[in-house]
Symmetry: C2
Amino acid sequence: MADRVVRRIPEPTVVRLPVYQRALLTLSTCGVQTVSSAELAEAAGVNAAKVRKDLSHLGTYGTPGTGYDVSFLLGQVRRELGLDREWQVVIVGMGNLGHALARSQTFATQNFRAAALFDIDPGKIGEEVAGLPVRHVCELAKVVGGISRSIGVIASPASAAQDVCNRLVEAGTVAILNFAPAILAVPPSVQLRQVDFSVELQVLAFYVAHPEVTPEPQDAPLSGL
Amino acid sequence: MADRVVRRIPEPTVVRLPVYQRALLTLSTCGVQTVSSAELAEAAGVNAAKVRKDLSHLGTYGTPGTGYDVSFLLGQVRRELGLDREWQVVIVGMGNLGHALARSQTFATQNFRAAALFDIDPGKIGEEVAGLPVRHVCELAKVVGGISRSIGVIASPASAAQDVCNRLVEAGTVAILNFAPAILAVPPSVQLRQVDFSVELQVLAFYVAHPEVTPEPQDAPLSGL
């Protein structure tokens, strides 16, 4: 039954769940016990109707006049996001971007653990970043093959991205986040997302060039909405 | 009339336009003159029906049996994206991420120019990155105020992001791309997008945890779709 509810969650809602999660974490840390949809909306930078609709996809409706129980809702959102287990993040490409990602606050605050770092440049192999040694990419299959629930992060140049992607897939990585400006091919069983600086700038340029198209002025559009 | 057509372009289509643009640029560079929706779909990593629907939003339908004229379509997509003019990109926060962004290939291949770099750390001021000096953020109003069509990129820690955002808005920046893990408030006249490493990992974790929800298996999901 739970699966049938989940099946209908639209992707824009999925992309907002991490934002609610962060807002709820902050509220929880501050000792707040209940939150209205309007308050959660403000903390998450979306409108209140959207919050109520998004949370209804989780089967959560809050109590009229009181709102949502912060700690219950936080647990529910984290479970939906798969954050009730630990994920091992493998970063390939240890240039400036790889360094920034390896040192991300994400690894301190969520159930994501930086598990292994790789590069192909002999000058970088053995360097220690965020407490981990940078390994040669030829070790990837061995190291990542021994990790369960791994997420691969590609921070290599575009020209190397498909090769890196193939190595991650062959090593059993179940999800890949690609920062290289290249369209990658993966088997259907592997989840792939792409973050592209150039695409983001172009989308901004589009909306500045066409101010009449602004999608939803009440929202702070998050990439992925 | 053109505006009335544009007004109906859905955001997922807007986010795919840069992907089509890149695919068309590659085809054009290779001397290809016409392209079918199936070929363009493959190059862009989406399905052909989606390509046809997306391009119909631009009023472009191609010629049955022949497909789309590559150079005409490329010009049209670039105009829609506002890439027929130059955009000045200002990066604030010159840690590893700021360095990676300043050196991005984006600035070599599109009409985006890295115009100014800022940090608050005295140790970084005066350093040269990608041919530009890093300036103190207290110079931001003066420098950015003199730039037209500026896009601000926030690569600062989350704790400084709203302050940086306010400075950019006061200096007249029309669009902001925020890489800091913080929800920012901007006036409705400013376009804001957010790229968040943690959100991307969580969305991937969600889809791995719920394999039955995979949104559109034929597509390589791009952040923002």
